[in-house]
Each structure stands twice: as C-alpha cells, then as structure tokens.
C-alpha cells in the first residue's frame, strides 16, 4: 500500500516531491509517481494544496457494533489521596465534547479508601456519573491491576470515548487498556474535537513537536487518547449534578505478577517540574554551579521550580531530575524562563508547549529566541539581578 494520487487534481507542481522524507515521490514528466519506498507517513497529504494526495484507509477488521458504545469517559488519576489536575482538565474538555455529541460524561476513579469529596469535585467539574472502584490492591499503582480494572469496566459499560492524562501513570498503563480492549490509542494529544460524523479528532505533536498529526480510530471502540496536562482549561459547571456508582469487580481483576517494594516520593519540591506553573531554567551560560542561586532566587519570586539544560546537568551544577528536554522532563508551565541556555532542539522539545517563554541570552543568534515569546538579549549576570530588583520592588520586598 502507498499514498494515493488523484491524477485529475494533481497539477504536477512538485511540492510533495521535496517534502517526502523517503524520496518515494517522483515526477515522471508531468505524472506523479509513488514508489515502494512510501511508508504511508502522510507527510505529503497536507502539503498538497489541490487535495490530490490521500492515504488508503485502515482495515476495518472483524465487525464491531459501534452503536452499542455510548458516552464519554475520563480516567480520574488518583494518587496519594488526591486527583491529578489533568483529570479535572479532561472532565472540563469531556463536558464540551459530550454536550456537542449529546451524550453523557463519566469519570472513573480507581484507588483505595477513596474520599467521597473527590467524587463531588469530579461532579462539580461536569461529570454526570462517577464510577468508583475501591480495592486494597489499587492502593499502589501497577499497570496490571489498573489496566485490568479499567478494561473490565469498559467491557461492561461500553463507552465510545475514553480519555486519560498523558502523565507517567497514564502513558504507562493506558496502552495496556487499549491492547486488552483491542482498540486504537492516540498518544499525548493537545487538541480534541468531534467530526461531523461523530469521530473523535485527536491532534498531537510528533517528531519532537516539529509536526502535528490528527488521528482517528474509525472502526474500534472506545476511541482512546491520552492528553497532555495543562493544555485543556478547567472550568466548574455551577450547580451540576451527578451520581456516584461504586462498582465491584471480580478478584481476578486485581491480580498482578508485579510486587511493589518501595514508593519514594520526591521530597525536593523544586524538582516537581511537571506540576509547576512557572519554571526558571539555567544552562551552561551560568559558568559555575554556585551561580544557580541566581536562578533559584528568580524561581522563588515566581513561586516556581528550577529547571536545567543538559549542559548544566553535565557540568554537575544541577541533579539530572531537573533536566528539561528529550532525555529529561517534558514540561508545559504557564511561564518558562530560559536563562543562559542555547535552546538546542533536544531542550526545546521538552518545553515548547509552555504558554509564555522568556529567553535571556547574550547571543542574539541563539536558537532559543526562535521560540521565545519575550526575548531579552543581555548578559544574564547583569539582567537577572536587575529583574530580581524590579520584582522585589513591586512586591514591596526591597
């Protein structure tokens, strides 16, 4: 199989020839040809302004009764007695989709000794039903128990859409849920919408954020997606009412081959990068470890966390848990301040989802300026103290 050319629409302009990463497209005189090198990556489709290129369809497989599936589900991530913020974000996003589709929205809470206040909070954000499974074997997260419980519930109640946060928990066990249910899963979405035919349009970054892809799951149910934290907005629905249903599942659901020996929570609050609203990161431009006190001071004024480039981590100035980027943490705070770091692509892929990016660098050509909302070309050792002074003045601290 390969990309399909509509020769009626093709103008032989050749744009797609240069776009194909696999050099699978050639122009033979004025006829576009696609060779066996085509991997069906889809890159060419959107670049054709004449709509002449399309992808063949995924196989429909054995018949699945799509109409038997109804309602939108959000997995509410429970850890240490609280529900993760992303779950409330997804309830809010799910509410909009449910209203658009004219269907119900449910939240699923798995855990042990669940606090009823959490149910009410999910309802206040827009859930019509909260399914709660409370079992000692769910006290600690394990992929097997969590995926078996969620898959078993889904088999019984047949939702048409199932959403979960793209957290370390969601990205770990949700693929197993999808595999157990024999359905598709879209990873780390940043946008969700409903097509006119009622298909969930799942849009996500790929290639380290260099491209966006919209993905559908046409023939299987539920349509499943993990969604990146902090991209959807939370909104309470005033006066919203819902009900709670406690579900008992067979004991076999809670069996796991894995034994949890230890759970060590990171006590160092500053390392809680993925949760922070503001992150101030330093790079090799700081020249030595002691100078990170500058970064820490700014972070403190913003009540934020401290991040670092791999350059700074390799120098031993910051522990690896602070590293942002491809081989570190992926973050998307409201404000990301990059100080004395170049903005290498491997760093950028880990923070480009941030709402506001401030770059402080003395080199106006530094790649970090390409993605910065506010760029400050300056020597950090002069600028950062000036900024600290200004904030302190305004906060009445100086």
């Amino acid at each position: 199989m390969k990309a399909i050319v509509d020769h009626q629409k093709c103008t032989a302009c050749g744009v797609c020839v240069d776009v194909c990463p696999f050099e699978a497209i050639t122009l033979q005189e004025t006829i576009l040809e696609i060779s066996d090198e085509c991997t069906l990556c889809g890159m060419c489709v959107d670049t054709c302004e004449f709509g002449a290129l399309s992808m063949p369809e995924v196989g429909s497989g054995p018949d699945v009764d799509l109409s038997a599936h109804r309602g939108i589900w959000v997995f509410a991530e429970w850890r240490e007695g609280t529900v993760h913020k992303v779950s409330h974000e997804l309830i809010s996003a799910g509410r909009k989709l449910a209203d658009k589709k004219g269907t119900d929205l449910s939240a699923v809470l798995l855990g042990h000794n669940l606090d009823p206040d959490l149910f009410q909070e999910l309802i206040a954000h827009g859930a019509d039903v909260v399914y709660a499974v409370d079992h000692p074997e769910l006290a600690h997260f394990r992929d097997e128990t969590y995926s078996q419980a969620l898959a078993e519930l889904a088999r019984r109640k047949k939702p048409e859409i199932l959403l979960a946060g793209a957290t370390s928990m969601g990205r770990s066990f949700v693929p197993r849920v999808a595999a157990l249910l024999r359905t598709g899963l879209t990873a780390d979405c940043t946008e969700l919408d409903m097509s006119d035919e009622g298909l969930l349009l799942q849009t996500r970054p790929a290639f380290g954020g260099n491209v966006m892809a919209t993905i559908v799951c046409p023939h299987r149910r539920p349509q499943m997606a993990t969604v990146r934290p902090k991209v959807m907005k939370t909104e309470k629905v005033p006066g919203h009412e819902g009900r709670v249903e406690t579900v008992d599942l067979p004991e076999s659901t809670f069996q796991s081959r894995v034994e949890v020996l230890e759970v060590l929570l990171e006590t160092d609050q500053t390392a809680k990068l993925t949760e922070a609203d503001v992150i101030v990161s330093g790079g090799r431009g700081l020249r030595k470890g002691e100078n990170f006190t500058l970064i820490e001071e700014v972070a403190k004024l913003f009540k934020g966390a401290v991040g670092a480039s791999r350059g700074a981590v390799e120098e031993g100035w910051m522990p690896p848990s602070h590293q942002v980027g491809q081989t570190g943490r992926t973050v998307a705070p409201n404000l990301y301040v990059a100080v004395g770091l170049a903005g290498a692509i491997q760093h950028v892929v880990g923070m480009q989802g941030s709402k506001i990016i401030v770059a402080v660098n003395k080199d106006p050509q530094a790649p970090i300026f390409d993605i910065a909302t506010y760029g400050v070309v300056a020597d950090l050792f002069e600028f950062v103290p000036a900024l600290v002074k200004k904030i302190k003045q305004e906060q009445g601290l100086a």
Partner: protein, 263 residues
C-alpha cells in the same frame, strides 16, 4: 538469559525543520540514526551481559535500510540481529507494530527479557512496549532507570514517575522500557565493528512470522492519521531592548499584563 532489544531507526530530529516560507517539513539531508532511547536499552542489555551469562538479540521492524541501525548496535557488542521487513508492514500504528514485534519474539521462543526505549523520537507515542507486552501476556515496567537481578526468576527495577521513584519486583519473562539513567551507551569497538560488518542479518516477513496481511501494516492498524501539518507559528514574539533596567521593567510589565502567577 536471552535478552531481546527492540530498536527503531528514526530521522535525526535535530535537523528536521519547517520551511518558514512553504510551511512544510524539510528533511532533506536528514540522517537516520538509532532512536537515542534504544541505545540506552542496548546499553542496559550489555550491562546485564557484563556480569551474567546472556545472549542479546536485537530486532527492528523497518525498511531494508534499517539493517544499518542493527549493524550500529552490533558494533557495540550485541550478539545477533534480525530485520523484520515486508512491504505489508507499511503504515503500521503502534498496535500493528506491536503485533509484528510480538510475533518475532514468539518465533524466537526462549526470551527472558525484552528491552525497549522509553519512546521513539519520531512517533513519540511510548506505546509499543506496553502493547507488545500485553500481546505476549508478560508483565512490564516503564521508565526504568536501574535493573538488578535479585534471584534467577526475578528482576528488581527502579522506575521514574512524575512523583518520584518506585521499586518493583517483576518475574521473568518481562518487558522493560528504559530511560537514560540506565547508562551512557558505550562506543563501538573495532572487533565488534568488523563482526557487524560481516554479519548475515536474517530478514523476516509475514511468511516467516506466520502473520496474515490483514494483521499488519495499515490493514492491521486501528488508528489512522488523517492530517499531518506544521504547528502554527507563534506570531506574538517580542524582543525587549534597552538597558538591563529598562529590559527588566518592560518584561515585568508584560508578564504582569499576561497575569503570570507570582507577579
């Protein structure tokens, strides 16, 4: 112990960019590399082999030129390599990819441990490891940063979560996806380079794997990419000029306007 490492050949994303005029992806002159996380998986396997009796087989699903990626990791000390290649595999989503990789593991039979990278830097889904383990009905652990062997039947692994570290005991056979903390990849050695260059790499297609065309590639996929496009360019960029005091003042005001917390 037989360890299978799954590796993927990917475009080196640092050279992938969007042409600012045509808004299309430019990948000309972009090299193919071994997915960086998979080099960590290879290193984790080699470390286990350093202190235990072990055989390491590396597999990849990809076009014929993906055998270059296999030779790369063989030159670092991996024992054997198998290429999974067939026109029918084109267009695989993570489910179809997992189906193919799982079939290869089943065909090998005697596998104790499967190692994958945390994620591939092109598809970026991190789904193949967990889905493949589910298909093989073996337990798995993701985001693993350290592996110990407490007894002959189990592994003890530390995994990095958003909240901290978890230590799990997991029976073999199992699958682990690893992050960079498992160890910096060792460099190719001359001896292994020679061996890798000469190695005959078997290539398995659907016939060898006992799979039907409907089970693999686009036909066997559940998800469909309907649109690929360049991310919208940010047009709200401002360069702040002046003395540092003026710059600090301006930045402060802009952040205040944007209602940044803490200001």
């Amino acid at each position: 112990m037989h360890i299978v490492v799954c590796i993927k050949q990917v475009p080196d994303t640092k050279n992938v960019r969007i042409d600012p005029d045509t808004h299309t992806l430019v990948r000309q002159g972009v090299e193919s590399i071994v997915n960086p996380f998979d080099l960590f998986a290879v290193e984790a396997a080699l470390k286990l082999k350093d202190v235990n009796e072990a055989k390491i087989t590396v597999i990849t699903m990809g076009p014929p030129q993906a055998s270059e990626a296999l030779r790369d990791v063989m030159s670092r000390g991996v024992d054997e390599a198998i290429l999974l290649s067939d026109r029918a595999f084109a267009g695989s989503d993570t489910w179809a990819t997992s189906t193919t990789l799982a079939a290869a593991v089943r065909k090998m039979g005697d596998v104790d441990l499967i190692l994958c990278g945390k994620q591939a830097i092109d598809g970026d889904t991190a789904q193949v490891g967990p889905e493949m383990a589910t298909l093989l009905d073996i337990p798995y652990a993701t985001f693993v940063k350290a592996i110990d062997i407490p007894d002959t039947n189990h592994l003890k692994v530390s995994r990095q979560t958003d909240e901290g570290t978890e230590v799990w005991k997991i029976p073999k056979p199992c699958l682990l996806t690893v992050i960079k903390e498992v160890g910096e990849p060792r460099l190719p050695s001359l001896r292994h380079k020679m061996r890798a260059k000469k190695a005959q790499i078997p290539s398995w297609g659907i016939a060898e794997l006992g799979l039907e065309p409907e089970e693999v590639g686009l036909s066997g996929s559940f998800t469909q990419v309907v649109r690929v496009f360049s991310p919208p360019v940010r047009d709200d960029r401002v360069i702040i000029e002046g003395t540092v005091a003026e710059q600090a003042e301006q930045l402060y005001n802009l952040l205040k306007e944007a209602k940044v917390p803490g200001i």
